[in-house]
Subunit: 319 residues, 2 copies
Amino acid sequence: MRIVALAGGIGGARFLRGLLAAVGPQDEITVIGNTGDDIHLYGLKVCPDLDTVMYTLGGGIHEEQGWGRADETWSIKAEMKEYGVGPEWFGLGDRDFATHLVRSQMLTAGYSLSQVTEALCVRWNPGVRLLPMSDDRVETHVRITDEQGTRAVHFQEYWVRLHAAVDAEAIIPVGADTAKPAPGVLEALAEADVILFPPSNPVVSIGTILAVPGIREAVAAAPAPVVGLSPIIGGAPVRGMADKVLAVVGVEATAEAVALNYGSDLIDGWLVDTADEGAVAAVEAAGIACRAVPLLMTDVEATAEMARAALALAEQVRK
Amino acid sequence: MRIVALAGGIGGARFLRGLLAAVGPQDEITVIGNTGDDIHLYGLKVCPDLDTVMYTLGGGIHEEQGWGRADETWSIKAEMKEYGVGPEWFGLGDRDFATHLVRSQMLTAGYSLSQVTEALCVRWNPGVRLLPMSDDRVETHVRITDEQGTRAVHFQEYWVRLHAAVDAEAIIPVGADTAKPAPGVLEALAEADVILFPPSNPVVSIGTILAVPGIREAVAAAPAPVVGLSPIIGGAPVRGMADKVLAVVGVEATAEAVALNYGSDLIDGWLVDTADEGAVAAVEAAGIACRAVPLLMTDVEATAEMARAALALAEQVRK
């Protein structure tokens, strides 16, 4: 079976680990990774979501933290502080830096982000084919108003430095309108047997991927059933601050509202947590098959069970 | 007193530390640093000699090793090995990487190497004004013949990877012929009260600095006395492999031959080690004042004593 999953960072990566545990060796998983939170730091190209997927599936992730490398050292960060060179609010460990150095050197040499990602994955052997959503530069910016006035800040600054504590007024995926899907993305969607939306952020992860012209259309047109998993449980994001960015696009932070926002033209099935069983009827009324199952990714087995439920629902809605 | 010193890496840096201990707070030291062994690694600009001077005088050097940072960590090197990205033979620690990241980011932003060096020195506060010999790219290459045939390799590859074990056939400071002295270099030489050649490598350190058009002429024309210290003691370099590269330019590895190679049009005074007392007469016969004093930089005080001897000789030869 050919499974295609759209994925953001931590939540997406953890779901993919469960998915890998749920499928067999004959199944092929292609991951279309969000690159909207990529950022240039110290002259290097940093791709937090791609790296989180790569490190998580490749066994190099810092488990408790969910991002960055295990057994990390922080010498460069300490040195940057001594040099007075920022940003101080973004944590890049030494091991992580190596990835950005290799990536940046390859990009400068003329390789595309897809090619670089494939090269990095030779080492990490993540068990999936990891494709960036686009080889073109897309950077999500967030419009805010604070004591410095109204301005757009990089998503990472909003998320990591400001902890989303300032109201977001708009989410702007700069460059997305002219970006092209990376090689293989549209083909993977067209040839998929199942398409999954992991419980990633519906606005700044899945939403950004869908904002690349051609990808939303390819998902909608794909013959494969499309099944998503709610990142919202009991009216709050399981992890992260999805509610903050959902508000900007006028979507309530509920399992039901997120499903309806994707809409039945995009998704065929939707999993909500058992805590949100009350949402099932409303989602189904909108033409989206819905089941309530436990959605807490407490460990790999619990996550694999979620993946199995998603694949089972996909079979039920297959035309 | 305005003192100008030309300097390579480890030997030059250690001499400068002694010089700083020998002079008073009213004395101003300008160091013209060799950049011929600069190398681009992982997309970053690495300036080994400038950094060795900066770290040594700024208290950040790895004392036993003579190069690189104290309390260094090596996470990036380990990661590069996992990625299969070389060169493995060049050791860049994590703290050291931070310097190259800051430098490279500033160079990419359009600052000159002089400006970047000045900025880095704000942190290190080396107690001298450190100028690169040139803001233009100069890279010393070495022509060798081995099982791969006759070819030119970067000086660092010759020195660090091959340990100078293959005969050097030519030393080629690529780019030196069109390089311009960095801002301040010629002015410092013209206004100097004393010019010193520390016991740095006469070919690939001092020689490369002198190969930048205008610098040799400015040293020769300077009203200040020029005094050098022999890097050769008893027919062998105190440190490093100066004999290997002296052979290429047809100069014997003796304290006397190095002095005569500089010549009386360039230097006015020369210090040899007490072990080379026999060379004094021949050097003086060539029109260069010569004294034999202990030249082993065993500690800062012994080195300061060498600096005092050099300054004293400068006074004796002052016209």
